[in-house]
Symmetry: C2
Subunit: 301 residues, 2 copies
Amino acid sequence: MKNDQASFSVQLRSAILSKRSAVCVGLDPRWSSLPSNIRGEIEHQNRRAVAQATAKFCCEVVDAVEAFTPIIKPQAAFFEQLGPEGMQALASVIQHCRKRSVLVLLDGKRGDIGSTAEAYADAYLGVESAWGCDALTINPFLGEDTLEPFLRVANDRSAGLFVLVKTSNPGSGFLQDKQIDGEFIYESLADLVQSFAKPTIKQGYGSVGAVVGATYPEQLSSLRKRMPNAWILIPGYGAQGGTAADVAYGFDEEGLGAIVNSSRGIIFAYQSSEYAGRDWQHAVAEAARDTARQIWEATGP
Amino acid sequence: MKNDQASFSVQLRSAILSKRSAVCVGLDPRWSSLPSNIRGEIEHQNRRAVAQATAKFCCEVVDAVEAFTPIIKPQAAFFEQLGPEGMQALASVIQHCRKRSVLVLLDGKRGDIGSTAEAYADAYLGVESAWGCDALTINPFLGEDTLEPFLRVANDRSAGLFVLVKTSNPGSGFLQDKQIDGEFIYESLADLVQSFAKPTIKQGYGSVGAVVGATYPEQLSSLRKRMPNAWILIPGYGAQGGTAADVAYGFDEEGLGAIVNSSRGIIFAYQSSEYAGRDWQHAVAEAARDTARQIWEATGP
């Protein structure tokens, strides 16, 4: 956290308004997609070199997008894939974000029972966290009792949590769309998130939010109303098919209350004909600026 | 994997029979519970020293229990809690297991969509895995389509997967016990696991299994029948209240088909009056031997 006095929710709101951007830049640093001048002559088996180059790439992305995004979302899987050296890279990327004016939301989708849930929460959000993230995504499958340790630890540091409610993948209905007593599971989860958000409301929103995919605009619209005090993290914009008009359903009447994730469309913008002829850092910066503007125009205050 | 020719299922079966043990030793190395001669004068803020001592503790546990357990289950959260140095410790513990005759099941409960799920699978189970685990626990909340990348990658290396079906915590019914068209969600998940297990059956069992808690013996019994070809990983034995009679419901008529996890009861056995007067390594070894025997007598062939 940049400032342990202010809650995650207040920091996020203030960063969105000052940067006029509700874009969350997702760091999914797939090695095969990294720019050739980052990959150089490094063989993919050379894990230490791959991890170091990945960290360098991510830190340069952070520098390029900093002005256009309130929050960066590293995807844990792509760092775990590189082994312990990849986790060292993740730590240095998070540290770099903390030196810049961006919040860090780790996308780990963690979930476990009792003291194990507490260990995850403590790892990423605790007062003595070794990683020092501002927020974490969590998975509710194991039950409400398994979310409580996350809430407790996050609350101690006014950190943020985003609970999976309706994910962006084509098969997300498998459990999430099942109906119990006339209510969809994603609706029950949304009610839970709203109840978690309530005790920490400041300036309209609490520090517990929900993940709802842009690929389900109808649900996004109904869930926005159902969770009036919960931030919504919206994945699925761009590459997965969600449009600016779709994500608009996740915002409140003042144009706040949601952040829209874009990963590939920004961090690998140099691959797009739209940004041809720039070096990759400028392509990334322009894509972040353009994405922020598109979303702000469709949704912002 | 010890032998990339043999599937996870075959290796597990063979190790259970040769060691006469269906105990899975869970490595949950909570720093405050570690023996005082491991913790020494190390301050808990000194993460590098804590991580190194944690690795030393876990490797000595592996040596102490090796003869009495076919499979070791490191809990990712407790290593993540120690930051990047903790992940280095996890890597060295896994390497140590690979040098010994024990399989490694990483308890990470990972789950994500598409290429991110693939990155997790590749990380822990892939042909070029940086970690080199034999099996991984996964979370089905995001949908069947998000399990497919795990299945594909695991299958390439004949590695194992354990899907959460009915977890051991008191609140696991929150989603898992909801009924849809007369079927509990844990039953639908079990059917899915059985269908995943079928294509890889060798000597009765496939390489995709399920997690079902010892704390729900009735469900354990019905799920055993419902998934005749899926290994069941049974947590919740001992400290959480499950007994040898409870876990027996998870085994087939030949006394196979399940592994029973015990973490605290074994790795922190030196804290128990039952094993007073031994050094901690001997307490751990005796507890592993005793647990293996209790479970074998209640369930084994």
